[in-house]
Amino acid sequence: MEGKAIKYGDNVDTDVIIPARFLNTSDPKELASHCMEDLDKNFKDKVKPGDIMVAGDNFGCGSSREHAPIAIKESGISCVIAKSFARIFYRNAINIGLPILECPEAASSIEDGDIVSVDFETGVIKDITKGIEFKSQPFPEFIKKIIECGGLVNYVKEKVV
């Protein structure tokens, strides 16, 4: 997976990822059309399929709205790399199949516009523009299983049906 980095700072909250005034719908396309609007008005014009969002500490803090990872995923972002994630956002992203990686070194070093590749098998993140390589935190086995199933619904489906 390879894409251009779109970089933000610390404490990017779910209210700026998708403001509550747009939560009167659960349509992914409509949500994506307002993604990041209150933090970065140009986001929806500049984001290209495969781009990688890079951020600082506590990404996705605030509300439990799954509309936030849904909007990010639907806007074409292939992966979010952050120094750390707020816990509800973390599990929501895993549950809906939006790839996320916790890697403080990569999140500090990668700059906006850098071309970045990610290998989920190995957890290796490469900043191709800068020629630097990073290793992200590996997922626990249980979470790997959810990811392999393509999200929590499929994981549960296998068990109950």
């Binding site: 209210d15 659960s26 605030g62 799954e66 509309h67 549950n95 809906i96 929590l152």
Partner: protein, 418 residues
């Protein structure tokens, strides 16, 4: 190794020994959703393909964010929830006229009890830790899977201990305690962890505790939880319609950190834009003129909050440049405010009083801010654009500070008006 209060509850539910970092799948006692998160959950639930929900009595659906319906789209979202509730026989669906803000409503109705494991597709689900249960926010997909299976997965958290002592001063409440703590540890100060409140908690009313546990998420915590005592018991008895189990942390429980906090030293706090950690003591606030005051929400819309608002407002007038909006959190609280004559005094003072709704707290409806406007609010978040325009500002404070500010037209100490 001894276990913390949260770990004890999780270990009991797991039925085997657990340690921090373990991933467990356990039964839940209550699954909650609202009008924003439930429609997404229902869509996912239907994909699973089960014919029934795991337990018709252990799901609560509370449309509260955009109700009474603010527009056609939100009306349709609520309708999805309403139809699902009818079709699947969900017992605890709360319609406008019976509802309240979910986190005030569930404990009030006795639907969540000490020792329970509660998950809710709303981040402020952590509120119920006030009555010594494990309670945490999750997303819509987790909600969907739990509605189907009655289970959820958790990482057993480490804990931070808050060892409390002393008594709160006049006009100081739970809101000031939690803002003070968030100011001290930061918005990710308890990331992935439990915040366990122990020591001498006897001066904290149950409403103070709900407010404190409610904002644990604002420090990034997984849950906030209080020890069980006579105050908890007095609240729960008479509401509980089933047995419950009381847990206590082991004496040799391990905490990643312990803070000793003397409640008597805490002054009224104000969190400046745009993070709840930007707190100042009321004495250091300076001159901040305001346009709107909001008193209510899952954080501060309970009877004690209405009582202190009444004490400050009675016989006074809201500043002519200020709009004061008060929203009691549940129908029962609203009715008690009517009986006690609070509502009459609020209206005489020049306040607008609303039926229960999350409305203004999240910039949904019923009090949106224009560009450049400033509000002081008893709600829980002051992020960019939280209550309206991205160039508006929200200051977080207690009902006492908010009510005093409504009279003065600037952020004011209750001492200035009382």
């Amino acid at each position: 190794m001894g276990l913390t209060l949260t770990q004890k509850i999780l270990a009991y539910k797991a039925g085997y020994e657990v340690k921090p970092g373990d991933l467990i799948e356990i039964d839940v006692d209550m699954v909650l959703g609202n009008d924003v998160t439930s429609p997404v959950a229902i869509k996912e639930f239907l994909k699973i393909g089960v014919k029934e929900v795991f337990d018709k009595e252990k799901i609560a659906l509370v449309p509260d964010h955009f109700v009474p319906n603010k527009d056609i789209k939100s009306a349709e979202q609520v309708n999805i929830v309403r139809k699902f509730a009818r079709e699947y026989g969900i017992v605890n669906f709360f319609e406008v006229g019976q509802m309240g803000i979910e986190h005030a409503l569930l404990p009030e109705k006795g639907l969540v009890l000490p020792g329970d494991v509660v998950i809710g597709a709303d981040s402020h689900t952590c509120t119920y830790g006030a009555i010594t249960c494990f309670s945490t926010g999750i997303g819509s997909t987790d909600m969907a899977c739990a509605m189907a299976t009655g289970k959820a997965w958790f990482k057993v958290p480490e804990a931070i201990k808050f060892n409390l002592k002393g008594k709160l001063g006049k006009w100081v409440s739970g809101k000031d305690v939690i803002l003070y703590i968030i100011g001290m540890i930061g918005v990710d100060g308890a990331l992935y962890k439990s915040m366990e409140f122990t020591g001498d908690i006897s001066s904290l009313s149950i409403d103070d505790r709900f407010t404190i546990a409610n904002m644990a998420i604002e420090a990034g915590a997984k849950n906030g939880i209080f020890d069980y005592d006579e105050i908890t018991e007095a609240y729960v008895l008479g509401r509980a319609k089933r047995n419950y189990k009381v847990f206590k942390a082991d004496d040799d429980a391990e905490y990643v950190k312990t803070y000793d906090i003397d409640l008597s030293m805490i002054k009224p706090q104000v969190a400046f834009p745009h993070l709840p950690e930007n707190t100042k003591s009321i004495d250091d606030v300076g001159s901040v003129k305001i346009d709107q005051v909001v008193i209510g929400s899952c954080t501060n819309g309970r009877l004690q909050d209405m009582e202190v608002t009444y004490e400050i407002l009675k016989g006074k007038k809201v500043h002519p440049d200020v709009r004061l909006i008060i929203f009691p959190a549940t129908q029962d609280i609203y009715l008690e405010c009517v009986r006690r004559g609070y509502i009459e005094e609020f209206i005489k003072a020049g306040a607008a009083v609303s039926t229960p709704t999350c409305g203004p707290c999240l910039g949904g409806h019923m009090g949106i801010l224009a560009k450049g406007e400033r509000a002081i609010s008893t709600t829980n978040r002051n992020f960019v654009g939280r209550m309206g325009h991205t160039e508006s500002e929200v200051y977080l404070a207690s009902p006492a500070v908010a009510a005093a500010s409504a009279i003065k037209g600037y952020i004011a100490s209750p001492e200035e008006v009382a």
